[in-house]
């Protein structure tokens, strides 16, 4: 049974804005990246998953339960971490997470224990006894994650979890997300604008645009290796190119790198030997990979058109 299963999901807001348009997809458990332009329908989709919105037509099931009729049961086993600030500044992390745990159905003692555990797992120690108002952005994000995990959900919905964090905080949050998905065994749906992060942490990708599904596939499908070898030497790139061309390889320059096609394994040793003979400093040699950026690299006119389309919807 797929984790999430949508069939022809459509949602039209009262004003006429068509946020979701015939979305059909199946998602298996894992760490799933969820990308799309602002206004493409991501928050709407998450709200529908939580049973907070009834779709105009079509249906979606989470854990095999219809969100339109069994929202309450679904919400017992789903954790949600919103993008925006949502914590009361004058409660302590312990009190707040414990309260949220009880609101999710945990008996008092269990809520207390799990609160302590989750705060430890997200990395909040003595600060948990201080009021949230004094926390840094990083600490607040951790509290948000803890309240989403306190009731041991089967599915975690994270909306831009690294928003507002500095690079160090970002690293830590991504590591937490990875641990949650891989070690804790909880399915995670991460919505993010940072494609590099998605590539690092996720195993599956869902992309939507204009309320429609544009891509849904394992991440590997988008980050496959190309049959091109990129080589960088500290100096003497032209000499390297010359030597390789002389040996019959179709080498060309691109920025700092020298590129060769990889029809077989011969180029590897050719590069190695050329560098050794010419006394060149070899600093990089790797197969080109596709990146998620390529998915989004729309031609100039198209992106302006998309903005206008989103403007109408926003």
């Amino acid at each position: 049974m797929p984790l999430i299963s949508a069939r022809d999901l459509t949602h039209v807001y009262p004003g006429g804005v068509r946020a979701l348009e015939g979305l059909t997809l199946d998602v298996e458990p894992g760490i799933i990246g969820f990308v799309g332009a602002n206004g493409a329908g991501k928050s709407t989709f998450m709200k529908v998953l939580l049973g907070l919105l009834k779709p105009t037509s079509g249906k979606v099931e989470v854990f095999g339960l219809d969100t339109a009729t069994r929202g309450i049961e679904i919400r017992q086993r789903v954790g949600y971490m919103p993008e925006h600030d949502c914590l009361p500044p004058d409660m302590t992390a312990t009190d707040f997470v414990s309260h949220m745990g009880r609101m999710s159905g945990l008996p008092k003692a269990a809520a207390r224990e799990r609160t302590a555990e989750m705060l430890r797992h997200v990395g909040l120690y003595e600060e948990r006894y201080r009021v949230i108002g004094g926390y840094s952005t990083g600490m607040k994000q951790r509290v948000k994650l803890a309240q989403a995990l306190v009731h041991d959900p089967r599915l975690l919905l994270l909306d831009e979890p690294t928003n507002g964090l500095d690079p160090a905080g970002r690293e830590e949050m991504l590591e937490l997300v990875r641990r949650t998905g891989q070690e804790f065994g909880i399915a995670v749906l991460v919505s993010s604008h940072l494609l590099g992060e998605i590539e690092r942490v996720c195993s599956y990708l869902i992309a939507i645009d204009g309320g429609r599904l544009t891509n849904a596939a394992p991440l590997g499908d988008f980050t496959g290796v190309q049959l091109i070898l990129a080589v960088e030497v500290e100096e003497g790139a032209e000499a390297l190119m010359g030597r390789l061309a002389a040996a019959g390889f179709d080498a060309r320059a691109e920025g700092d790198a020298v590129l060769l096609p990889l029809p077989d394994d011969r180029p590897y040793d050719a590069v190695r030997d050329a560098a050794a003979e010419l006394g060149l400093m070899l600093v990089r040699m790797e197969q080109r990979r596709d990146t998620l950026q390529d998915l989004f690299r729309a031609p100039a006119g198209a992106s302006a058109g998309k903005e206008a389309g989103h403007a109408a919807r926003a």
């Binding site: 507002g164 500095d166 690293e171 604008h193 990089r284 206008a308 926003a314």
Partner: protein, 322 residues
């Protein structure tokens, strides 16, 4: 080592650091009681794009507000076009600031907001300037709609229009990419590149390093109010001589290659992973030179070689920990 870093304190910005550099700070500090937000910062910038990096609370916003002339330096100097930034209306004409928090009135239209800024600057033809700014950020289609109804990306662009309306030579942006999707970010980056190509000095504060390093090769790194490093981040990495360079390798025989590499003077250590080989090299150039030779002599095919710690992220995290 600190001497070497001090030399890099005056960054190699794309334009020459002329006597009348667009932007110059000398020993600038700002404190609030006991809290020192900015501590003795010195640098100068010319045309081009520079990134301003630092952990949360490092003083980046304070620094930008000082450059924009909104905060008086507690000591030292902040000079724009050779003149002090503080209490200097002329300086305000040369600087545009796009702040991080929402700084637009939702009941105004995009055009009205730009017009308001144009009028506040006392521009002779405010309407034309406002329209030109709107065009530059590609907001013409929505310019007569209220900002309250804009998407996040459009709101950011409206803010940029407001900051551009007086055609400033220096453009300061505080976390401009927050909340933008990849398409909107690319659009904004294009705009920044255009601005820089026109000879403007663009200083962007951002946490999103993966984007910033496509945009700005030169960076200023601020940690707890101090300037930790400046310049091209690859250069900065090279200057970190107290930290060995690390490389990740894959080859046809990692173990054999590893033991051969250990015989090289440039190599400090190797670590065999399940599928890769990590090498710590005190002498980056020496290692890069030795590697192909050693591999060839051992008959080992090199399949992959990557420096692991030359990324902007890696440089940044090292600087923050010092």
């Amino acid at each position: 080592m600190s001497a070497q870093l001090a030399e890099a304190a005056v960054p190699a910005s794309p334009g020459p650091a002329a006597a009348n550099a667009a932007l110059e700070l000398r020993g600038a500090s700002k404190w609030y009681g006991n809290v020192v937000a900015v501590n003795d910062i010195t640098f100068s910038l010319g045309a081009g794009i520079t990134g301003l990096l630092g952990p949360n609370g490092a003083g980046k916003s304070t620094l930008l507000h000082m450059i924009a002339g909104f905060l008086e330096p507690s000591s030292g100097e902040v000079r724009v076009d050779g003149r002090p930034a503080w209490k200097n209306p002329d300086a305000y004409r040369s600087v545009g600031l796009v702040p991080e928090r929402e700084a637009v009135y939702p009941f105004l239209t995009g055009y009205q907001f730009a017009l308001m800024n144009a009028r506040l600057h006392g521009l002779p033809d405010a309407e034309a300037a406002a329209e030109a700014a709107i065009d530059r950020v590609d907001l013409r289609a929505a310019m007569h709609r209220r900002i309250g109804g804009y998407s996040k990306g459009m709101r950011q662009r409206a803010k940029v229009a407001g900051a551009l309306v007086h055609d400033p030579r220096i453009l300061l942006l505080d976390e401009p990419f927050n909340g933008m999707d990849p398409g909107q970010r690319m659009h904004m980056m294009e705009l920044m590149r255009e601005m820089a190509a026109q000879g403007r000095t663009v200083l962007i504060s951002s946490h999103i390093l993966e984007e910033l390093h496509h945009l700005a090769n030169n960076v200023l790194v601020v940690v707890a109010g101090r300037l930790a490093a400046s310049g091209h981040f690859r250069e900065i990495r090279r200057l970190m001589t107290d930290r060995p360079h690390t490389f990740t390798l894959r080859s046809s025989d990692d173990r054999r290659l590893a033991s051969a590499l250990l015989r090289e003077a440039s190599v400090q250590g190797v670590e065999l992973g399940s599928a890769t080989l990590s090498v710590r090299a005190a002498d980056r150039g020496g290692f890069a030179l030795a590697l192909p030779r050693v591999a060839r002599d051992e008959g080992v095919t090199l399949l992959e070689l990557r420096p692991t710690d030359e990324s902007l992220e890696s440089v940044f995290s090292y600087l923050v920990k010092r």
